[in-house]
Symmetry: C2
Subunit: 151 residues, 2 copies
DNA sequence: GAACAGTTTCAGGTAGCCTGAATTCTAAGT
DNA sequence: ACTTAGAATTCAGGCTACCTGAAACTGTTC
Protein backbone atom coordinates (compact mmCIF):
# COMPACT_ATOMS: atom_id res chain seq x y z
CA UNK A 1 0.00 0.00 0.00
CA UNK A 2 3.04 2.22 0.00
CA UNK A 3 2.33 3.22 -3.58
CA UNK A 4 -0.82 4.93 -2.40
CA UNK A 5 0.78 7.09 0.25
CA UNK A 6 1.64 9.91 -2.09
CA UNK A 7 -0.77 11.53 -4.56
CA UNK A 8 1.83 10.92 -7.28
CA UNK A 9 0.98 7.26 -6.95
CA UNK A 10 -2.75 7.55 -7.55
CA UNK A 11 -4.14 5.97 -10.67
CA UNK A 12 -6.51 8.88 -11.17
CA UNK A 13 -3.68 11.36 -11.17
CA UNK A 14 -1.55 9.40 -13.63
CA UNK A 15 -4.45 8.75 -15.96
CA UNK A 16 -5.15 12.46 -16.02
CA UNK A 17 -1.52 13.35 -16.59
CA UNK A 18 -1.12 10.98 -19.50
CA UNK A 19 -4.39 12.11 -21.01
CA UNK A 20 -3.34 15.76 -20.73
CA UNK A 21 0.00 14.96 -22.28
CA UNK A 22 -1.51 13.13 -25.23
CA UNK A 23 -4.44 15.45 -25.79
CA UNK A 24 -2.75 18.22 -27.75
CA UNK A 25 -0.81 16.10 -30.26
CA UNK A 26 -3.84 13.84 -30.63
CA UNK A 27 -6.19 16.73 -31.36
CA UNK A 28 -3.74 18.18 -33.84
CA UNK A 29 -3.42 14.85 -35.62
CA UNK A 30 -7.19 14.46 -35.90
CA UNK A 31 -7.77 18.09 -36.86
CA UNK A 32 -5.38 17.64 -39.77
CA UNK A 33 -7.76 14.99 -41.11
CA UNK A 34 -10.84 17.03 -40.31
CA UNK A 35 -12.34 15.43 -37.19
CA UNK A 36 -12.44 16.10 -33.44
CA UNK A 37 -11.68 13.87 -30.48
CA UNK A 38 -15.35 13.24 -29.60
CA UNK A 39 -15.95 12.28 -33.22
CA UNK A 40 -13.05 9.85 -33.17
CA UNK A 41 -14.19 8.16 -29.99
CA UNK A 42 -17.76 7.93 -31.29
CA UNK A 43 -16.49 6.22 -34.44
CA UNK A 44 -14.45 3.82 -32.36
CA UNK A 45 -17.33 2.88 -30.08
CA UNK A 46 -19.77 2.55 -32.99
CA UNK A 47 -17.43 0.32 -34.92
CA UNK A 48 -17.52 -2.01 -31.92
CA UNK A 49 -21.29 -1.63 -31.30
CA UNK A 50 -23.04 -0.81 -34.56
CA UNK A 51 -26.75 -0.08 -34.35
CA UNK A 52 -26.88 1.37 -30.85
CA UNK A 53 -28.76 4.57 -30.02
CA UNK A 54 -27.22 7.95 -29.35
CA UNK A 55 -28.09 7.61 -25.67
CA UNK A 56 -26.42 4.23 -25.46
CA UNK A 57 -23.40 5.66 -27.23
CA UNK A 58 -23.35 8.43 -24.64
CA UNK A 59 -23.29 5.93 -21.79
CA UNK A 60 -20.44 4.00 -23.36
CA UNK A 61 -18.54 7.24 -23.86
CA UNK A 62 -19.18 8.53 -20.33
CA UNK A 63 -20.95 11.72 -21.39
CA UNK A 64 -24.55 12.88 -21.09
CA UNK A 65 -27.05 12.05 -23.80
CA UNK A 66 -27.39 15.74 -24.71
CA UNK A 67 -23.64 16.05 -25.13
CA UNK A 68 -23.47 13.02 -27.38
CA UNK A 69 -26.42 14.32 -29.42
CA UNK A 70 -24.31 17.33 -30.43
CA UNK A 71 -21.46 15.11 -31.60
CA UNK A 72 -23.80 12.74 -33.41
CA UNK A 73 -25.64 15.54 -35.18
CA UNK A 74 -22.39 16.95 -36.47
CA UNK A 75 -21.40 13.50 -37.70
CA UNK A 76 -24.73 13.00 -39.43
CA UNK A 77 -24.34 16.38 -41.13
CA UNK A 78 -20.84 15.55 -42.32
CA UNK A 79 -21.94 12.12 -43.53
CA UNK A 80 -19.85 9.97 -41.20
CA UNK A 81 -22.96 8.37 -39.69
CA UNK A 82 -26.46 7.47 -40.79
CA UNK A 83 -29.43 6.56 -38.64
CA UNK A 84 -32.56 4.45 -38.95
CA UNK A 85 -35.75 4.26 -36.99
CA UNK A 86 -35.77 1.32 -34.64
CA UNK A 87 -38.79 -0.69 -35.82
CA UNK A 88 -39.52 -1.96 -32.30
CA UNK A 89 -39.19 1.38 -30.52
CA UNK A 90 -40.84 4.23 -32.33
CA UNK A 91 -38.78 7.03 -30.90
CA UNK A 92 -35.35 5.45 -30.92
CA UNK A 93 -32.90 5.98 -33.77
CA UNK A 94 -30.19 3.41 -34.44
CA UNK A 95 -26.78 4.64 -35.54
CA UNK A 96 -24.44 3.17 -38.15
CA UNK A 97 -21.10 4.23 -39.58
CA UNK A 98 -21.31 5.10 -43.29
CA UNK A 99 -18.77 4.13 -45.93
CA UNK A 100 -17.41 7.64 -45.56
CA UNK A 101 -17.07 7.09 -41.83
CA UNK A 102 -15.10 3.93 -42.46
CA UNK A 103 -12.84 5.78 -44.86
CA UNK A 104 -12.24 8.41 -42.18
CA UNK A 105 -11.15 5.72 -39.73
CA UNK A 106 -8.73 4.46 -42.35
CA UNK A 107 -7.41 7.94 -43.03
CA UNK A 108 -6.41 8.59 -39.40
CA UNK A 109 -5.23 5.10 -38.52
CA UNK A 110 -1.55 5.46 -39.39
CA UNK A 111 -1.11 8.72 -37.52
CA UNK A 112 -2.93 7.39 -34.46
CA UNK A 113 -0.73 4.30 -34.49
CA UNK A 114 2.37 6.48 -34.74
CA UNK A 115 1.36 8.52 -31.71
CA UNK A 116 0.43 5.36 -29.88
CA UNK A 117 3.90 4.00 -30.61
CA UNK A 118 5.47 7.13 -29.11
CA UNK A 119 3.38 6.69 -25.99
CA UNK A 120 4.46 3.07 -25.68
CA UNK A 121 8.07 3.70 -26.66
CA UNK A 122 9.34 3.03 -23.14
CA UNK A 123 7.42 -0.23 -22.85
CA UNK A 124 8.16 -3.73 -24.05
CA UNK A 125 5.55 -5.48 -26.17
CA UNK A 126 4.58 -7.49 -23.13
CA UNK A 127 4.31 -4.35 -20.98
CA UNK A 128 2.08 -2.76 -23.57
CA UNK A 129 -0.25 -5.74 -23.64
CA UNK A 130 -0.53 -5.70 -19.87
CA UNK A 131 -1.17 -1.97 -19.78
CA UNK A 132 -3.99 -2.30 -22.30
CA UNK A 133 -5.44 -5.22 -20.40
CA UNK A 134 -5.42 -3.32 -17.10
CA UNK A 135 -6.86 -0.16 -18.63
CA UNK A 136 -9.69 -2.23 -20.09
CA UNK A 137 -10.38 -3.60 -16.63
CA UNK A 138 -10.58 -0.06 -15.24
CA UNK A 139 -12.87 1.07 -18.03
CA UNK A 140 -15.17 -1.91 -17.54
CA UNK A 141 -15.53 -1.13 -13.85
CA UNK A 142 -16.58 2.38 -14.80
CA UNK A 143 -18.95 1.13 -17.50
CA UNK A 144 -20.63 -1.14 -15.00
CA UNK A 145 -21.28 1.85 -12.75
CA UNK A 146 -22.91 3.64 -15.66
CA UNK A 147 -25.78 1.17 -15.56
CA UNK A 148 -27.70 -0.56 -18.34
CA UNK A 149 -24.50 -1.23 -20.26
CA UNK A 150 -23.52 -4.72 -21.31
CA UNK A 151 -19.75 -5.06 -21.05
CA UNK B 1 0.90 -6.59 -33.00
CA UNK B 2 -2.59 -7.98 -33.23
CA UNK B 3 -3.66 -5.82 -30.31
CA UNK B 4 -3.09 -2.76 -32.46
CA UNK B 5 -5.28 -3.86 -35.34
CA UNK B 6 -8.47 -2.45 -33.92
CA UNK B 7 -8.90 1.09 -32.55
CA UNK B 8 -10.32 -0.46 -29.37
CA UNK B 9 -6.80 -1.64 -28.67
CA UNK B 10 -5.09 1.73 -28.87
CA UNK B 11 -3.57 3.08 -25.69
CA UNK B 12 -4.71 6.57 -26.56
CA UNK B 13 -8.30 5.47 -26.86
CA UNK B 14 -8.32 3.57 -23.59
CA UNK B 15 -6.59 6.36 -21.70
CA UNK B 16 -9.21 8.76 -22.95
CA UNK B 17 -12.06 6.41 -22.07
CA UNK B 18 -10.86 5.86 -18.53
CA UNK B 19 -10.23 9.55 -18.06
CA UNK B 20 -13.74 10.39 -19.29
CA UNK B 21 -15.20 7.77 -17.00
CA UNK B 22 -13.39 9.04 -13.94
CA UNK B 23 -13.76 12.72 -14.67
CA UNK B 24 -17.29 13.32 -13.44
CA UNK B 25 -17.07 11.52 -10.07
CA UNK B 26 -13.63 13.00 -9.54
CA UNK B 27 -14.78 16.55 -10.20
CA UNK B 28 -17.77 16.06 -7.91
CA UNK B 29 -15.56 14.74 -5.15
CA UNK B 30 -13.19 17.69 -5.41
CA UNK B 31 -15.97 20.24 -5.79
CA UNK B 32 -17.46 19.00 -2.52
CA UNK B 33 -14.21 20.08 -0.83
CA UNK B 34 -14.01 23.31 -2.76
CA UNK B 35 -11.33 22.78 -5.41
CA UNK B 36 -11.18 22.00 -9.13
CA UNK B 37 -9.26 19.34 -11.04
CA UNK B 38 -6.56 21.73 -12.31
CA UNK B 39 -6.07 22.92 -8.73
CA UNK B 40 -5.71 19.35 -7.50
CA UNK B 41 -3.15 18.46 -10.13
CA UNK B 42 -1.20 21.65 -9.46
CA UNK B 43 -1.07 20.79 -5.75
CA UNK B 44 0.12 17.29 -6.59
CA UNK B 45 2.87 18.45 -8.90
CA UNK B 46 3.99 21.20 -6.52
CA UNK B 47 4.17 18.82 -3.61
CA UNK B 48 6.65 16.81 -5.67
CA UNK B 49 8.53 19.87 -7.03
CA UNK B 50 8.26 22.73 -4.53
CA UNK B 51 9.76 26.03 -5.60
CA UNK B 52 9.26 25.74 -9.36
CA UNK B 53 7.85 28.57 -11.47
CA UNK B 54 4.35 28.74 -12.91
CA UNK B 55 5.75 28.12 -16.39
CA UNK B 56 7.62 25.04 -15.23
CA UNK B 57 4.46 23.85 -13.50
CA UNK B 58 2.64 24.33 -16.80
CA UNK B 59 5.16 22.17 -18.64
CA UNK B 60 4.88 19.40 -16.08
CA UNK B 61 1.09 19.58 -16.32
CA UNK B 62 1.00 19.61 -20.13
CA UNK B 63 -0.79 22.95 -20.47
CA UNK B 64 0.32 26.37 -21.74
CA UNK B 65 1.90 28.86 -19.37
CA UNK B 66 -1.09 31.19 -19.77
CA UNK B 67 -3.49 28.43 -18.81
CA UNK B 68 -1.51 27.54 -15.73
CA UNK B 69 -1.29 31.21 -14.76
CA UNK B 70 -5.07 31.29 -14.38
CA UNK B 71 -5.05 28.26 -12.10
CA UNK B 72 -2.14 29.57 -10.06
CA UNK B 73 -3.70 33.00 -9.62
CA UNK B 74 -6.88 31.45 -8.30
CA UNK B 75 -4.84 29.34 -5.89
CA UNK B 76 -2.88 32.37 -4.70
CA UNK B 77 -6.14 34.23 -4.11
CA UNK B 78 -7.62 31.36 -2.12
CA UNK B 79 -4.42 30.96 -0.10
CA UNK B 80 -3.44 27.47 -1.24
CA UNK B 81 -0.15 28.75 -2.66
CA UNK B 82 2.32 31.51 -1.96
CA UNK B 83 5.10 32.81 -4.17
CA UNK B 84 8.50 34.42 -3.75
CA UNK B 85 10.79 36.31 -6.06
CA UNK B 86 13.59 34.14 -7.31
CA UNK B 87 16.69 35.99 -6.07
CA UNK B 88 18.74 34.80 -9.07
CA UNK B 89 16.16 35.61 -11.76
CA UNK B 90 14.47 38.91 -11.27
CA UNK B 91 11.31 38.17 -13.17
CA UNK B 92 10.65 34.62 -12.03
CA UNK B 93 8.36 33.81 -9.14
CA UNK B 94 8.81 30.56 -7.21
CA UNK B 95 5.71 28.73 -6.01
CA UNK B 96 5.17 26.94 -2.70
CA UNK B 97 2.21 25.20 -1.12
CA UNK B 98 0.97 26.96 2.01
CA UNK B 99 -0.11 25.26 5.23
CA UNK B 100 -3.64 25.75 4.02
CA UNK B 101 -2.74 24.02 0.76
CA UNK B 102 -1.36 21.07 2.70
CA UNK B 103 -4.55 20.90 4.73
CA UNK B 104 -6.56 20.82 1.50
CA UNK B 105 -4.54 17.86 0.27
CA UNK B 106 -5.32 16.10 3.53
CA UNK B 107 -9.00 16.94 3.27
CA UNK B 108 -9.44 15.30 -0.13
CA UNK B 109 -7.10 12.36 0.36
CA UNK B 110 -9.59 9.83 1.69
CA UNK B 111 -12.15 10.45 -1.02
CA UNK B 112 -9.53 10.32 -3.76
CA UNK B 113 -8.24 7.05 -2.38
CA UNK B 114 -11.78 5.66 -2.30
CA UNK B 115 -12.35 6.51 -5.95
CA UNK B 116 -8.94 5.15 -6.80
CA UNK B 117 -9.90 1.90 -5.10
CA UNK B 118 -13.04 1.67 -7.22
CA UNK B 119 -10.98 2.16 -10.34
CA UNK B 120 -8.59 -0.57 -9.29
CA UNK B 121 -11.27 -2.89 -7.96
CA UNK B 122 -10.82 -5.37 -10.81
CA UNK B 123 -7.05 -5.48 -10.36
CA UNK B 124 -4.82 -7.39 -8.01
CA UNK B 125 -2.34 -5.46 -5.93
CA UNK B 126 0.39 -6.62 -8.29
CA UNK B 127 -1.64 -5.55 -11.35
CA UNK B 128 -2.16 -2.13 -9.83
CA UNK B 129 1.56 -1.68 -9.22
CA UNK B 130 2.33 -2.63 -12.80
CA UNK B 131 -0.33 -0.32 -14.16
CA UNK B 132 1.06 2.61 -12.20
CA UNK B 133 4.56 1.78 -13.29
CA UNK B 134 3.59 1.67 -16.97
CA UNK B 135 1.54 4.83 -16.80
CA UNK B 136 4.54 6.59 -15.28
CA UNK B 137 6.64 5.38 -18.20
CA UNK B 138 4.12 6.84 -20.65
CA UNK B 139 3.98 10.13 -18.80
CA UNK B 140 7.77 10.39 -18.70
CA UNK B 141 7.96 9.89 -22.45
CA UNK B 142 5.53 12.75 -22.88
CA UNK B 143 7.37 14.92 -20.37
CA UNK B 144 10.60 14.41 -22.26
CA UNK B 145 8.93 15.67 -25.43
CA UNK B 146 7.87 18.80 -23.57
CA UNK B 147 11.50 19.90 -23.37
CA UNK B 148 13.44 21.52 -20.57
CA UNK B 149 11.91 19.21 -17.99
CA UNK B 150 14.03 17.04 -15.74
CA UNK B 151 12.28 13.72 -15.22
C1' DG C 1 25.09 46.06 -27.20
C1' DA C 2 22.04 43.49 -30.04
C1' DA C 3 19.64 39.57 -30.73
C1' DC C 4 17.53 35.83 -28.53
C1' DA C 5 15.05 33.05 -25.16
C1' DG C 6 12.15 32.57 -21.13
C1' DT C 7 8.56 34.33 -17.58
C1' DT C 8 4.78 36.85 -16.67
C1' DT C 9 0.57 39.30 -17.72
C1' DC C 10 -3.48 41.08 -20.40
C1' DA C 11 -7.06 40.23 -23.88
C1' DG C 12 -10.07 37.52 -26.34
C1' DG C 13 -11.84 33.04 -28.28
C1' DT C 14 -13.89 28.29 -28.32
C1' DA C 15 -14.75 23.28 -27.81
C1' DG C 16 -16.71 20.09 -25.03
C1' DC C 17 -18.77 19.34 -21.35
C1' DC C 18 -22.99 20.40 -18.23
C1' DT C 19 -28.21 21.23 -16.31
C1' DG C 20 -33.10 22.09 -17.11
C1' DA C 21 -37.21 21.25 -19.41
C1' DA C 22 -40.53 19.73 -23.11
C1' DT C 23 -42.00 15.94 -26.13
C1' DT C 24 -42.89 11.35 -27.42
C1' DC C 25 -42.97 6.68 -26.94
C1' DT C 26 -42.72 2.00 -24.27
C1' DA C 27 -43.37 -0.75 -20.32
C1' DA C 28 -45.40 -1.82 -15.97
C1' DG C 29 -48.66 -1.75 -12.45
C1' DT C 30 -53.57 -1.40 -10.72
C1' DA D 1 -58.32 0.36 -19.90
C1' DC D 2 -55.99 3.89 -17.46
C1' DT D 3 -52.26 5.77 -15.06
C1' DT D 4 -47.65 6.17 -13.83
C1' DA D 5 -42.92 5.67 -14.41
C1' DG D 6 -38.87 5.41 -17.31
C1' DA D 7 -36.08 6.17 -21.48
C1' DA D 8 -34.74 8.69 -25.96
C1' DT D 9 -34.72 12.79 -28.32
C1' DT D 10 -34.53 17.73 -28.88
C1' DC D 11 -34.22 22.76 -27.67
C1' DA D 12 -32.17 26.37 -24.79
C1' DG D 13 -28.73 28.25 -22.15
C1' DG D 14 -24.36 28.21 -19.35
C1' DC D 15 -19.52 27.50 -17.85
C1' DT D 16 -14.82 25.70 -17.35
C1' DA D 17 -10.55 24.64 -18.96
C1' DC D 18 -8.22 24.89 -22.50
C1' DC D 19 -6.22 27.80 -26.50
C1' DT D 20 -3.65 31.86 -29.45
C1' DG D 21 -1.75 36.52 -29.85
C1' DA D 22 0.83 40.17 -28.12
C1' DA D 23 3.33 43.16 -24.89
C1' DA D 24 6.65 44.06 -21.07
C1' DC D 25 10.58 42.66 -18.66
C1' DT D 26 14.81 40.03 -17.58
C1' DG D 27 18.78 37.13 -18.19
C1' DT D 28 21.97 34.95 -21.65
C1' DT D 29 24.69 34.66 -25.67
C1' DC D 30 27.26 36.12 -29.57
Amino acid sequence: MNAMREPEGYLIYLIKQVELGVRRPFEELLAAKGISTPTYTALTVLRRWPGITSSELARRSFVRAQTMAETVNAMLDSGLLRREKDPAHGRQMLLYITAEGDRMIDRVRDDVQDLDAVLASALSEEDRRQLIHHLRACRDVLLAREGRVRV
